[in-house]
């Protein structure tokens, strides 16, 4: 391999293209070798993590959504990327460079309980290590009780919490407030908190960062923000969130039956088709509950639009979501906020999709 004397953005891009190809193929050794070679050629570790690995991971997600990658390829690529991150962390020259940094203190990096997209948190953990932090990376699927006992045990300067799935926002709220109750500041990030971080503010996080570099910047600003008492969510007083969340599976069943009554063709569905329909309805109900929790119509319409796109890429018309939204709205007509969200979502979807 030739060693370029100057690392140009094009080289970084080429490195990302190579990694994407290797990751999707599951060529772990080639992927690791390629990234380590780029490091040895002078690309700094943070660039490799954020402008190569993170970018490749984002592309993997987009390709999956566009139905150009299978679920198996998506998981394979994620596993390879994870291995690349680990290999870079253990790469001796990188380790030596990190060890030589002045120590900044201790932080905890974790995902919201129930979150299985671990890579964004993992990347943040590595970026913070590269800046000199002593990082406790707890990974995905961290029960809140573990996180809290970890915080008591280690007394970190802050907890950095990562969330990708919006439906985990109510749980994120519980985690944020629990950490703050221990006197620890919470920095949040990830797609779940909205592109502008508005749900971070709503749920009372001490800080929000749009990406890992910004998160490192927030933590570097001393003193790390002091915990503030979380504001309340007065709209929860109508109990609509509680009602929808508690009876979500019941609502899915009722909606499924309602659809079968209205559309006799559905009765001929195979078990598999029926299950997929039920899963789609379950997602709709889960996102509806979340939109009720954060009182945000855009979260729900955004979800419907995204799902319509996923379906369209798989040759299923996005309009096929409309009947389910309609039936669900009938079941929830006594709930003003839920009805408004469903109505708004249905109109939005109806207008934005081509008519058959």
């Amino acid at each position: 391999m030739t060693v370029p004397s100057v690392v140009a953005p094009a080289d970084v891009e080429a490195c990302a293209d190579r990694l994407f190809a290797d990751a999707v193929e599951g060529a772990e050794h080639a992927a690791v070798d390629g990234v380590l070679a780029a490091y040895d050629a002078g690309v700094d570790a943070e660039t490799l993590l954020l402008d190569v690995v993170a970018r490749v991971q984002a592309r993997v997600g987009a390709e999956w959504a566009g139905n150009r990658l299978t679920v198996a390829q998506e998981h394979t690529a994620t596993a390879v990327n994870d291995r690349v991150v680990a290999a870079l962390a253990h790469h001796p020259p990188n380790r030596a460079a990190t060890a030589a940094l002045p120590a900044l203190g201790r932080v905890t990096v974790a995902c919201v309980d129930g979150e299985w997209h671990a890579l964004p948190a993992r990347l943040l953990a590595e970026v913070l290590r590269l800046r000199g932090w002593h990082v406790d990376y707890l990974g995905a699927q961290v029960p809140t009780a573990h996180l809290i006992s970890h915080v008591h045990r280690t007394g970190p300067a802050a907890v950095a919490l990562s969330g990708s799935i919006p439906t985990r926002l109510p749980t994120a709220h519980a985690v944020i407030t629990a950490c703050q109750a221990t006197g620890t500041a919470v920095l949040v990030g990830g797609a779940a908190f909205g592109p502008d971080g508005r749900f971070a503010t709503l749920l009372g996080a001490d800080a929000w960062a749009p990406d890992a570099r910004a998160a490192a910047g927030v933590l570097a600003a001393r003193p790390v923000p002091r915990p503030t008492p979380a504001p309340g969510l007065p709209h929860l007083g109508d109990q609509e969130y509680t009602m929808v969340a508690r009876s979500s599976r019941q609502l899915v069943r009722e909606t499924l039956h309602g659809l079968e009554e209205r559309y006799p063709a559905m009765r001929a569905y195979t078990d598999r088709q029926r299950r997929h329909t039920a899963e789609d309805i379950a997602h709709i109900v889960d996102f509806l509950a979340t939109a009720l929790y954060v009182d945000d119509a855009e979260l729900f319409t955004g979800f419907l639009g995204w799902t319509a796109g996923i379906l369209a890429a798989r040759n299923v018309p996005g309009r096929s979501l409309l009947p389910a939204v309609h039936v669900l709205a009938q079941r929830l007509r006594d709930f003003p906020r839920a009805s408004a969200l469903l109505e708004h979502g249905r109109n939005h979807l109806d207008e934005s999709l081509p008519h058959p």
Binding site: E25, P143, A145, G155, T182, G183, R249, E279
Partner: protein, 523 residues
């Protein structure tokens, strides 16, 4: 009539001359007889107030209340007038007691506020370092100019947090002798409780009076009593320009010390307990799993209990001891849940480790394990799969023996999924057990998946009441051909997690054993 009024009163004309005064006024101001100029007969604050009032235009409206000292008392002076002749009547009232009460109330409120803040900050954390820092910071901010918290020695060094006037706590581990500071050794002992001790600042060593603090005016040592355990001691320092500690302040410092000590000892006890739990738990936690002998291995574990880290499912990997031999992978599930089940998994893992030399004969290993469990005091049983793993050329050869455990699946490169047909008795119930060992060969890119019934028996799904089931697992695995072991484990864990949602689930364990796909050489 008003001459006998109990409140001093003076009538002063526009020229500032006293025209009338009552008895009480002449008792208070001896030279305030009629005809005397106000200036000189009364304190300056009152004559200034009169001058100001007379200067002010617009009659009829009463002027502002003036106040000031007369001797060692505080008086308020209420003017009425001036009247049409420009005369003002000044009524005086002794306000000393009211002011003292108000000052005491303000002080008391400030202290209560401080104690509430202190309790909130201290009680929110179970981290000893943080509690100690909070104690030092609060004490330095509210009680003194600097504070030092010292806790009992760990390996002959005392953890010390010093907080100076800058409000930033500084942490050190100091090999110092507390006896250098009078009363400190006793305070550190905690019991019996000692009253606070005043120390001669000149006697304090340099680690107490830090450089740059300036001359110490007063210094006091107080103990931090915990929950029956000594939590440490607090040293408060004030600079010379500040007043020494009053008795009230000293009592208040003890109140604070009581709260701080309780928080610190709770944090200390918590740290001690978690450290013991960590040590004991280490052996029970699922091991880290990585590549063995060119065979890809990955594993995942999720205990049933919310706050638990261990449970009744377990796995282990024993790498081959010599070239050409087999490695052993074990996955199992003991009856029961939680810590008690985890302790049993620990015993089984240890027993299996001891039986490794005979791992070539799965039947023998399982019979010996069966005997061990039958001889135990309580009824306890386990289902498990023993898998001997050996790399053969590009592929991997597996010998699997199931003991009453759900059949592992083999994910083939051609997308077919086969259950491994090894059936055998569960361990720990019957005197005699039956085992069958099945050999399976994995081509590159193929995987064998071992799992516990926590995965397949999980209830949930979109309708909330369906079991995930082996058929569904198998169907999903058909989509997973060619996935590396790590990705497959994550896929299965994610499917189960999605299926269960927020519902209850049992312990879940998964192990994937893969023959690596052909190695692609970097270009």
């Amino acid at each position: 009539m008003w001459g006998a009024a109990p409140y001093p009163a003076l009538v002063v004309d526009v020229t500032g001359t006293i025209t009338e005064s009552n008895t009480a006024a002449r008792v208070l101001f001896q030279h305030a007889g009629p005809g005397t100029p106000l200036d000189g007969a009364v304190p300056a604050w009152l004559s200034r107030a009169h001058a100001a009032l007379t200067r002010a235009t617009g009659s009829g409206a009463d002027g502002e209340v003036a106040h000031g000292t007369v001797g060692d008392r505080v008086y308020e002076a209420y003017p009425s007038g001036p009247d049409e002749h420009g005369r003002v009547v000044w009524w005086l009232a002794d306000d000393t007691e009211h002011r003292l009460a108000a000052e005491a109330l303000r002080l008391e409120r400030e202290r209560t506020e401080f104690l509430v803040e202190a309790s909130n900050s201290l009680l929110s954390s179970l981290n000893l370092d943080r509690c100690t820092e909070v104690t030092a910071r609060l004490a330095a901010r509210h009680l003194a100019d600097a504070a030092l918290v010292i806790t009992p020695a760990v390996h002959r060094r005392h953890p010390v947090v010093y907080c100076g006037p800058d409000g930033e706590p500084v942490r050190d581990d100091l090999a110092v002798d507390p006896a250098q500071v009078p009363g400190l050794a006793e305070a550190l002992q905690g019991f019996p409780p000692m009253p606070s001790r005043w120390i001669d600042p000149a006697a304090a060593p340099a680690w107490v009076v830090r450089e740059g603090f300036g001359a110490v005016g007063s210094m006091v040592v107080t103990s931090l009593p915990g929950h029956g355990v000594p939590a440490g001691a607090l040293i408060l320092l004030r600079r010379t320009e500040h007043a020494a500690f009053s008795e009230g302040e000293e009592v208040f410092a003890r109140l604070f010390a009581g709260r701080a000590g309780a928080a610190m000892s709770a944090a200390g006890l918590y740290a001690e307990q978690t450290s013991i739990t960590e040590t004991l738990m280490r052996e029970l936690l699922p091991p880290r799993v990585q590549e063995v002998d060119g065979v890809e291995l990955a594993a995942g574990y999720r205990p049933s209990g919310e706050g638990e880290r261990v449970g009744g499912d377990f796995y282990d990997v024993h790498p081959r001891s010599a070239e050409g031999e087999e490695s052993l992978v074990v996955l199992g599930d003991v009856c029961g849940k939680g810590l008690e089940a985890a302790v049993l998994t620990g015993k089984i893992r240890t027993t299996l480790q001891a039986l490794l030399p005979m791992a070539a004969d799965h039947g023998r290993v399982l019979r010996l394990l069966n005997g061990t469990l039958l001889n135990g005091e309580r009824t306890r049983f386990v289902t498990l799969v023993l898998t001997s793993v050996r790399r053969t050329g590009d592929g991997v050869e597996l010998r699997l023996t199931s003991a009453g455990h759900p059949a592992p699946f083999v994910v083939r490169a051609d997308r077919s999924v086969e259950p491994v047909p090894s059936k055998g008795t569960l361990i720990g119930v019957l005197d005699e057990i039956v085992t069958t060992t099945v050999t399976v060969t994995l081509a590159p890119g193929e995987t064998c998946l071992l799992y516990t019934d926590g995965i397949t028996e999980v209830m949930g799904g979109p309708l909330g009441d369906e079991m995930f089931g082996e058929a569904r697992l198998r169907e999903e695995l058909e989509q997973c051909a060619g996935m590396p072991a790590r990705a497959l484990v994550e896929r299965v864990q994610m499917l189960a997690a999605q299926w269960v949602g927020t519902g209850h689930h049992d312990d879940m364990a998964v192990v994937a054993i893969s023959a690596p796909a052909g190695r692609k050489e970097p270009a």
